[in-house]
């Protein structure tokens, strides 16, 4: 027996580990079965990592904030100029976001907004090329939970997979087991962004006849219910054709190999885009502008209506009937308008920008104010009677409707989600 002692020990050690491995692979909740060992390992390693990272951060902060202040004034001036430029850009983006929300409201889309984030520092990695994960210095006591999205200032980083008391493990988007719902910004093609064994990120299952442009931005589609829609994932770096499907290689937006600080999305809010009458009118007007072939409504003489409205209505605005957009006269709503809406290219959504934007209900305070919109006065033919005559007597004026709670878009006939 003494002769085979070493080999017996080897066989026993290997057998035990293979058995343990087999049990973990067999069980679907493998993380739970090996949880204790992981907690021990993380507890043994991460305090040192945290200590070094904090020491490094403290030293850097001390140097930059108290000693090395050369050029701060110049930088301050430059940043102020940059803020002014960004404010201008923000105004433009807000208008785009408002318009996108109105159109989405018409379609009954539900949006997810980032409501709360927690900043965290990356303190370590798995130490393996085959496991692309990092550890952050925030855990369950900071409100971190599994499957929370992790982003950086540049783009999506990954999602939380294991949570410990004061640390959490984040699966990066370039890991093989990662999958993020993605959409190409220009072509609007959708797919799942995955990691490859070599560390590249790829979108597969895109049919080979589709056209994918190099440099096209890739955003989260929101379909995975983890990442809010519209976050930057990367850009198309290479496209290879392999039989039936394309292999779209993506260059991640976030620097996954040089992560230092990240944001964990700890709270998301999901709600339908508000559909007030006022905003609907404007969205309808926008659509009406894009439907030049719809004929005018016949004019009806109605002094009462004139008295109520007292304003002029442009020709375009009659193309989509006001009763329909208020939801009070379903029979007058042409179904074709929904199709027209979906036919429009969807503008990319910046989640943070969209979350900040408020419904434009204050833009329209009276029915007549609608006519003041610059988007609908392209053909200013006065037809006051025609506008109001088509509204049933029960329908409220736009101003009143704007103050009432917004109506779910799904109640609008023909506006059901596609």
């Amino acid at each position: 027996m003494g002769r085979y002692r070493n080999v017996t020990f080897l066989a026993a050690a290997i057998f035990i580990q293979i058995l343990g491995l087999a049990i973990q692979v067999k069980r679907s909740t493998e993380n739970e079965s090996s949880r204790l060992i992981r907690v021990w390992a993380v507890t043994a390693v991460t305090p040192l990592e945290k200590g070094i990272v904090r020491l490094q951060t403290g030293t850097t902060d001390l140097w930059h904030n108290y000693f090395y202040l050369r050029g701060v004034r110049q930088e301050n001036r430059r940043l102020r100029e940059q803020i002014e430029q960004l404010q201008l850009e923000q105004v433009r983006l807000k208008q785009d976001a408002d318009q996108a929300r109105r159109l989405q409201g018409l379609l009954g889309f539900k949006e997810q907004f980032i409501a709360k984030t927690t900043a965290a520092q990356v303190i370590g990695s798995s130490g393996s090329e085959q496991s692309r994960t990092v550890y952050i210095d925030k855990g369950s006591r900071d409100g971190i939970e599994p499957s929370m999205a992790v982003i950086s200032s540049q783009g999506v980083v990954g999602k939380v997979i294991n949570v410990f008391k004061s640390t959490a493990q984040v699966l990066l988007i370039n890991d093989q087991q990662s999958g993020v719902g993605a959409i190409l910004e220009q072509s609007r093609l959708q797919g799942v962004l995955k990691g490859k064994a070599s560390g590249e990120t790829v979108i597969d299952k895109i049919m080979s006849e589709e056209e994918v442009k190099l440099g096209d931005r890739v955003l989260t589609s929101g379909g995975d219910q983890i990442f809010p829609k519209g976050l930057p994932l990367g850009t198309v770096a290479r496209v290879t054709k392999g039989g039936e499907f394309l292999q779209v290689i993506i260059k991640p937006a976030a620097e996954l190999s040089h992560l230092e600080e990240v944001l964990v999305i700890t709270k998301k809010e999901e709600h339908a885009a508000p559909v007030s009458t006022a905003t609907s009118v404007r969205a309808a007007d926008i659509l009406a502008q894009r439907l030049p072939s719809v004929p005018d409504k016949p004019q009806m003489e109605s002094p009462a209506a004139n008295a109520v409205v007292g304003q002029t209505k442009p020709q375009n605005a009659t193309a989509i009937q006001p009763g329909a957009v208020t939801g009070s006269a379903p029979q007058t709503k042409p179904r074709g308008s929904t199709n027209a809406t979906t036919a429009q290219p969807k503008p990319p959504l910046d989640a943070s920008g969209a979350a900040k934007s408020s419904p434009a209900k204050t833009q329209v305070s009276t029915p007549g104010a609608v006519t003041a919109k610059p988007t609908v006065i392209a053909t200013p033919e006065p037809k006051p009677a025609a506008v109001k005559a088509s509204v049933p007597p029960t329908s409220k004026p736009a101003a009143n409707a704007a103050q009432t709670p917004s109506k779910p878009a799904s109640e609008i006939p023909g506006d059901t989600p596609q």
Partner: protein
């Protein structure tokens, strides 16, 4: 690069103090997890493997070698998100093999250390690949140039690391 065959009488057996035996593997795993964050190229190194080889060759006991390999491998596994045991099994074999070889070879010379580390790195990677694909069904990418380059890089680092760790050895 002299590889010397050593008779059993010439074999020196070493032991390590408890703090060294515990802290050296922990530090190796810590550096393995921490340094690639700042220097991504460092991920080609496998510091825990080098520590396993060093301890196994110095102790020259197959049982001690395989236990050291198993413990360090399992600890390394637990920092990944894969099932625990893939590194454990691979490093158990390496620990056993390195200590068995240490009984027969003079593993103090630079040449031997270079060759032994290169060989065991490749064996470790092959084992890891087989276990990961066969049992865990991971889709791994195998590239001989990459593996051989990593093996040589690890061997060179191992020579310096072993010289440093020689100071921690105590004659049994």
């Amino acid at each position: 690069m002299a590889v010397t065959y050593t008779s059993r009488e010439q074999i020196e057996v070493y032991r390590f103090s408890l703090p060294v035996a515990v802290l050296a593997p922990l530090l190796a795993i810590f550096f393995q997890a921490f340094i690639p964050l700042r220097f991504p190229f460092f991920s080609i190194f496998d510091l825990p493997l080098l520590v396993v080889i060093f301890f196994a060759m110095a102790r020259r006991s197959p049982v001690a070698g395989l236990l050291t390999g198993a413990c360090i491998g399992l600890l390394q596994d637990s920092l990944t998100h894969h099932p625990i045991g893939v590194y454990g099994i691979a490093k158990t074999f390496v620990g056993y093999g390195a200590s068995s070889l240490g009984v027969k070879l003079d593993v103090e010379s630079v040449g031997t250390r270079l060759l032994v580390t290169t060989t065991f790195y490749v064996i470790h990677e092959v084992l890891y690949f087989l276990i990961a694909r066969g049992m865990v069904r991971l889709d791994l990418h195998w590239s001989w140039p990459h593996e051989l380059g990593s093996a040589i890089a690890n061997a060179i680092l191992g020579v310096f690391l072993f010289a440093l760790m020689d100071r921690l050895k105590q004659r049994a």
